[in-house]
């Protein structure tokens, strides 16, 4: 048995395997049950004992070396095989993905929700009232008697004698005050109606009314609460101002403006060159209104406010035509 010859043979067999090729056929020939080493070890017993030990030692070394090399080639082969498999998985990753189909809430709804979130966090409770309302609640109880000039400010839809489509959410103030005792902190979101249609008016739009009545509610509280609201709604850096105004059911009455978000106060078309955008109307509840609901103006005071939801959404999203909210154009709705 010529060990050198065996080494050369094994070497030839092993080096015949290219890296990445399957080493198994060679493995079977060399290391298999009927392979080379198996046969050689069988033959060892025919050798004289003095040689048997030496050759046996060398064959064992050679076998271990062979196993090591085959194992390595096996790993390389498997690696290569995996790569080939993965290669076949290749896709064009630039093809479009499948975007889930989701819808959206109407921007008026999301704006409502934001306003409601702010005021409920301040302890105001949400209430609702009828959209088709008695003249009494919409006007009379709010200190707007028949023939009052303030009725001209709101083009009213009439349904029948003494019944109108509410022109504002303020009648909810009366309904709430009639049905409970102070302290009261409520907001009333909802649809309102005025007979008008152009780029800045729709016959239906939405308002949120607010009312706080308690002992010693002050005008300064009105300013504080509404300024807080403006900062929550439009950001901490927003500039706020209060101007005297007129509403028959509040006194003193005010309007709150924020610094125009479009031109930052320099003056533009949106703010009519004034640098300010009107956000809401407010005021201290008029003593006559308190008397109308049998509250004693000497005992309690309160403030009320009302804001247009569309107006706030228009400012937030940069919408210039209020009618957009009601076309329900999917190209509009999908942008929110």
């Amino acid at each position: 048995m010529d060990v050198e010859e065996i080494v050369a043979y094994v070497e030839k067999e092993l080096s015949g395997i290219k890296e990445g090729d399957d080493p198994n056929p060679v493995k079977v020939r060399l290391l298999g049950r009927k392979g080379l080493f198996s046969r050689l070890f069988d033959n060892l017993k025919d050798l004289p004992p003095e040689k048997r030990k030496e050759i046996g030692r060398r064959l064992n070394l050679l076998k271990a070396e062979t196993e090591k090399r085959i194992d390595r080639l096996q790993l390389l082969f498997e690696e290569e095989k995996r790569k080939k498999e993965e290669e076949s998985l290749k896709i064009d990753k630039t093809l479009p993905g499948k975007v889930p189909i989701v819808g959206k809430k109407h921007p008026i709804t999301t704006t409502f929700e934001e306003i409601i979130r702010i005021f409920t966090s301040l302890g105001f409770e949400v209430t609702e009232g009828p959209e088709i309302e008695l003249d009494y609640y919409n006007f009379e109880a709010l200190n707007i008697p028949k023939d009052h000039p303030a009725r001209d400010m709101q083009d009213t839809f009439y349904v029948k004698d003494g019944v109108v489509l509410r022109t504002h959410t303020s009648p909810v103030q009366i309904r709430v005050m009639e049905s409970r005792k102070p302290p009261i902190r409520i907001i009333a979101p909802g649809a309102v109606y005025r007979c008008d249609l152009d780029i800045s008016h729709t016959p239906m739009f939405h308002q949120v009314e607010g009312l706080m009545v308690d002992r010693n509610v002050r005008f300064s509280d009105l300013k504080g609460v509404l300024t807080l609201f403006a900062r929550e709604m439009f950001g901490d850096e927003v500039d706020v101002r209060f101007r005297p105004s007129y509403f028959p059911f509040t006194e003193p009455s005010a309007e709150m403006d924020i610094r125009c978000v479009i031109c930052e106060g320099k003056g533009c078309r949106v703010c009519k060159e004034t640098g300010w955008l009107e956000i809401l109307g407010a005021g201290m509840v008029h003593p006559q209104v308190l008397r109308n609901v049998r509250y004693d103006p000497e005992e309690v005071s309160g403030f009320a406010f009302g804001m247009g939801v569309e107006r706030i959404a228009m400012i937030k999203f940069g919408i210039d035509d209020i009618r957009q909210f009601y076309y329900n154009d999917i190209r509009f709705l999908s942008q929110f």
Partner: protein, 792 residues
Amino acid sequence: MRVPYEWLKELVREVPDPETLAEFLTLRGLEVESIEKISPQFKGILVCQIVKFSDHPRRSDLKIVELSTGGGSLQVVCGARNLSIGVKVPVAISGSILPGNRKIEKKEILGITSEGMICSEKELGLSDDESGIFILPHETKVGTYLEDVFWVSDTVLDINCPPNRGDLLSVLGIAREVASITGGRIVLPSFELEEGEEDIGNYIRLEVHDKDACPKYVLRMIKDVKIGKTPFWMRSRLAKCGMRPINSIVDVTNYVMLEIGQPLHAFDYELLRGREIKVQISRETFDFRTLDGQYRRVEPGDLLICDGTGAIALAGIMGGENSEITERTRIVALESAFFNPAYIRRTARRLNIKSEASLRFEKGVDVEGVDYASKRAIYLMRLLSGGEILKGVVECKKEVKRKSVYVNIERLNRVLGTKMEREEIREALSSIQIKVEKEDESGFTLEIPSFRHDINEYMDIVEEVARIKGYENIPETLPVVELRSIRSSKNEILERMTREYLSASGFYEVINFSFFGEKDLSFFLLSPDDERLRALRILNPISKEFSHMRTFLSPGILRSISYNLKRGERNLRFFELSHVFIDEGSLLPRQRKSLAIALTGKERDLFWREKLMDYDFFDIKGVIEGLLKRYRVEYFFESTKEPFLIEQESCDILLNGKKIGWFGRLKEEVLKAYEIEQKVYMGELDFEILVENAVTHWKIRPISKYPYAFRDFSFYVDDGIPVGSLISKIKAVSDLITDVVVFDVFRREKRSVTFRVFFQSYEATLKDEEIDVIQDRIIKELNEIEGVALRT
């Protein structure tokens, strides 16, 4: 109220520039809507004085005019008829520019050199008047350029006055506010009334029947007037305020109204029947022709001005044609009065007249200013139209006392959240002419000026103090209140849940107007007893399409679908959750929330990996089932009789045996009415009943520790047998069955349906033998049904 800046400056000293003034007024609650600049459209027009003029040698209708320019002289050929020596006129000299970029050069006219052109108002673009050359006010300085004269350039502030502040509807009213801001002084125009010898009492008699309706009425008269054109200065002020000049008598009444806020009316004395004027309340109904030529229906209770025979004016609203001032009028009777606002308001509103006079009378004018206005106007009439003022006045009045209001200082500060001193408050109020009448330790009694009809009680004073001090000077505080929790109502919770579920499922929320038209009702083919026909009609709708309050949401959603389809958007999923209104005969209708859901087209048009199917019945059914499961209500679907649905592809939805809605496919004729040409599946549910029945609090079921198992079963099922009933049947077989899924339906001669049935126990892992027992029972139960057979 439109306020010319130059006019305002005449009545109050110290006026800041227009922009600053606008800011001040806005912060005082007098919102300036616009600042309009009026600037001349000409350049280089020289003010000259006519020295003399003579006929043109070749044409006698032309004159050669010699003009003084102050330092030199000019010669101009002119064809105007109103030349007169000594008057000041605007001359377009060589190099000057007239409106429309018209350049003026020196030229020869029939052999005579003309160094320019004397202009008419029209040529200067100042008015439409081209009847002659523009005679300038005498105080205009010769040698100056007309464009530098103050009244040519001006700024008009358009001020949005609060509707309760009638006192602001004049230049004087605004001037009072300005004075209170700047600390300036009001300067009323000064004039001296030159009355003639003849006594007015010899001419006219006055009778006021109801002094409550008319607490003050003043008549003054002027005779021998020559009515003509009003001078430019007055006409231009009227025009700037938005009023049309008429003649030299009527213009004065308007001018004084704009100046001090008192509406006036001039009658042609010679047209009055019976030399008397009576202020009385009508007792009958008749038609009366007002000076705009229209007949107005007078009714009992209307306040009238009458002569000896009948009505000559609707008091405070509009004069009658029968006593109107014309070019031929020689004697004028001038009315200045205070009418009770309630009378004016009622009549003006009923007749739908909004005149400048009624606008002011219905808010209340200054009763103490009635006589001053009368004098001022009669003075101006003589100034403009000549003639002789009759001596004295005929008047009728009742004592009108100034109001007084008591204010407690501590309470004022408490309402505002301020710490103002007594003196500060006194000062603020005195700047708007509210004077302290009496005072005590805790406050003052204030005397309210007669023009402030808006101040009646203590809170009105609080507002004035806050306004004068400036809202910006009132602190911001947060109220100290008792903590309490704010709970969402069940309705709020479910609305939010519904919107989230539907938008997450691909539906866009729409909001439509709450109106629909009669057409919508007929489009939906509703039978006469249908509740949805009980729609409230609006008496003054915005259009025919929006004439009623909607009783259901579906028509609006179809409109939204139609709108989008027309714009090329074919795949639409919409929902609306809003109010509908049913007229039940009571004063107010029943208002409830409704939920409508619609889909049309397919999930998306194109996707490269797969072909997408059109939406069908099972898409709308799935969405509604998913929703009802979220409400945790027990629902049933039943065949429907809705007239607008295709019965074979539609269902009613029942809750506790009561119908709460429907869903399915709309008939093509309904869709066609809305110009929709593709299939639409939709549903509408009574949201209020859902909210009542929905479960918002529940306990979850623990998850079983043991694995589940499933078996598949295929049956031949006759077409007449609803698969839904088989599902229920299978579920009923054992408590261990957790779900039954239909995963294949196909047809080869007979319909074949494959169910996958899931089994699970909470107590142990199920053994095959246990499942076998249930399996056998499922097969047995179903096989017993006529028309169902296990497929083997």
